[in-house]
Symmetry: C2
Subunit: 146 residues, 2 copies
DNA sequence: CCAAACTGTAACCATTATAGTTGCAAATCG
DNA sequence: CGATTTGCAACTATAATGGTTACAGTTTGG
């Protein structure tokens, strides 16, 4: 199975927050851009807040803002905030420990899966929210030119 | 969400086939090591066969064998055989195209997701079934020594 | 001090995917 | 021909996702 769309939505949220700079953005505003319900956005915001990436103010004139400079927020931070657990799954039921393969394959798989996951995370660690916003803006410029 | 356990099971299957060398292994034998039902194993075998990684003989004395040298089968081959679709998901519903972020974020995300997925696949491409079997055997040796 | 504008969170639903299971037709071998 | 094996379809239980409704709490400002 694929990863959930929470990661895509979370990056979208943070890109919007980076775009509006210091003004807090409401979940309703962001839901309008993401094309979903404000509750879904607030669920994502809850995970981002727990990870220390955003701050939120309730009440009139409230909303969410980035907790730090978007240049200091990498997509790995975002990924870790919203995707729990390991990327790969081991056997649904543990294999039969009698026999060389069944008894040791999970150890080997853990190692292999860890390496593959680390390579993916390294790429995410090299991309910041600022870069995403710049890329989005650049795309918008190209579209206008056409 | 995490990836399914099919990948783990598929690697397990191929490792067993590499271990028994040329003798065909039945789905029941492999199910015994994997600790699942033979039908589940045959479902995985179906995907591996479609990808050209194993061959199968029905009937008495039948079973499955590797279609080529296990040194020539990488974990990326296995991954592609059993995990369909992209690793990351975009938005569940397409975002609102009016607005710079909503209108362009998916293009940016496609690019980022592609890079991250490629890095993961590169690691898998560097590991063969032979290496997995060797690692499993090495683990077994260490356990005996303890 | 109250109403309006926000938030957080729980509850429920429909949809989807997985893994397990059962059942049966087809192929092969002796 | 019978035993062994496969392939595949169908059904189930379980779990996760995303959407939606509902409601209580916080803040601001008239």
């Amino acid at each position: 199975m694929s990863l959930s769309s929470r990661f895509a939505v979370a990056v979208h949220v943070l890109t919007l927050l980076a775009q509006v700079e210091d003004r807090p953005a409401t979940s309703e505003y962001m839901a309008g851009s993401i094309n979903t319900d404000p509750v879904v956005v607030r669920r994502i915001l809850g995970a981002l807040r727990k990870a220390g990436l955003v701050t939120t103010q309730p009440g009139v004139g409230g909303g969410s803002s980035l907790a730090r400079d978007p240049e200091q927020i990498t997509l790995l931070d975002v990924y870790r905030a919203v995707e729990k657990g390991r990327l790969f799954s081991l056997h649904h039921r543990p294999p039969n420990p009698h026999g060389v393969v069944g008894g040791n394959i999970q150890t080997t798989l853990e190692s292999v899966f860890g390496e593959a996951e680390a390579a993916m995370e390294e790429v995410l660690a090299g991309i910041t929210v600022t870069q995403v916003l710049q890329d989005v803006v650049a795309c918008a410029g190209q579209v206008v030119e056409q």
